[in-house]
Amino acid sequence: MYGWLWHRLPGPAAVRALILTLAALAVLAACFLWLFPAIAPFMPFNETTVGE
């Protein structure tokens, strides 16, 4: 998977590594902004109220 990605990226190794690093950071940012807040309510902790 990552090998396939590596072989299809253009440029020398340094450029490819840079592209992959930026892509990983973008994925991480997307997770922090949208994915994690969306799944957090389904986690089985953090309940602070009584009742229900």
């Binding site: 090998g3 997770c31 922090f32 089985p44 902790f45 953090n46 602070t48 109220t49 009584v50």
Partner: protein, 268 residues
């Protein structure tokens, strides 16, 4: 080596074809296993990132947002003494009012921030907002502590019940276990009134124990005559198994125009 391999360019024998086919199949298996492995490693990294987000980032965002909420509340300035008055400059201590029942504000709309809480025992903790409602999506995860809808408002006869996170989302009630009987809980409303409560007891209850926020805590049918406060948060930390409950009772109140409660003055 057999003689067959040397007779080029002869077509590959059946045995060679079979061998090639087998090694091709092995390549496919290896690449499938490799992809599965990479997916699992990626999921592991994402799981770690989720922990980082939940345990650290929600605090970073929550602390910033809650500080902004408090800064934007329409509080009137609390008077301070001027040095020219003979006394040194500093806060004016509000005289405790117990002479008449405190003013009580009406319950605001869901999601409205109407008060703050300060707990001197939690030295170093900022003033935290209290908003109307206790659901996580619109109040507890985004605005800080939340007031149970339908319970008493600050200063009212009954039970002013507040829920807050003990871990994550700026964890306003993180240090709840440090509280001791007699500790002040200082509430300040947007009607510019201080309400100073004192802790009377703490307990750990199952999540279903709704009677801790009853008008008389622990006695759902009773008609209240006292002015209680109740804080609820999770227990143990990082678990939803039980709830940590703090009960208190109103000590005194004071308009913020009279000064600041002595409990909030450092070293007092």
């Amino acid at each position: 080596m057999t003689s067959e391999t040397t007779t080029e360019p002869a077509a590959p024998t059946r045995r060679e074809r079979r061998k090639a086919g087998r090694s091709h199949a092995r390549d496919v298996v290896y690449s499938v296993v490799g992809v599965i492995g990479e997916v699992l490693i990626t999921l592991g990294v994402l799981l770690f990132a989720f922990l980082l987000w939940q345990l650290w980032w929600t605090d970073v965002v929550g602390n910033r947002v809650q500080a902004e909420i408090v800064a934007e509340l329409p509080f009137e300035p609390v008077p301070t003494a001027t040095p020219s008055a003979g006394a040194p400059a500093g806060p004016v201590i509000a005289p405790p009012r117990r002479d008449e029942p405190p003013p009580v504000m009406a319950e605001p709309a869901h999601g409205t921030t109407f008060a703050t809480i300060q707990v001197p025992r939690w030295a170093g903790e900022p003033e935290r907002p209290i908003s109307q409602g206790t659901d996580r999506a619109t109040v507890l995860d985004v605005l800080g502590a939340g007031h149970y809808e339908g319970t008493a408002m600050p200063g009212d006869v009954g039970n002013f019940a507040v829920a807050g996170h003990r871990t994550t989302y700026a964890k306003p009630f993180n240090r709840v276990e440090e509280l001791q009987v007699g500790d002040p809980l200082v509430i300040r409303t947007t009607d510019n009134i201080w309400y100073v409560y004192r802790v009377t007891s703490t307990q750990v209850v199952p999540p279903s124990a709704i009677d801790v926020i009853a008008p008389v805590p622990g006695d759902p049918g009773a008609v209240p005559t006292e002015r209680f406060i109740t804080l609820t948060t999770c227990h143990p930390m990082f678990s939803a198994r039980e709830r940590f409950i703090v009960h208190g009772v109103l000590d005194y109140w004071a308009p913020t125009s009279d000064g600041i409660p002595a409990e909030l003055v450092g070293g007092a």
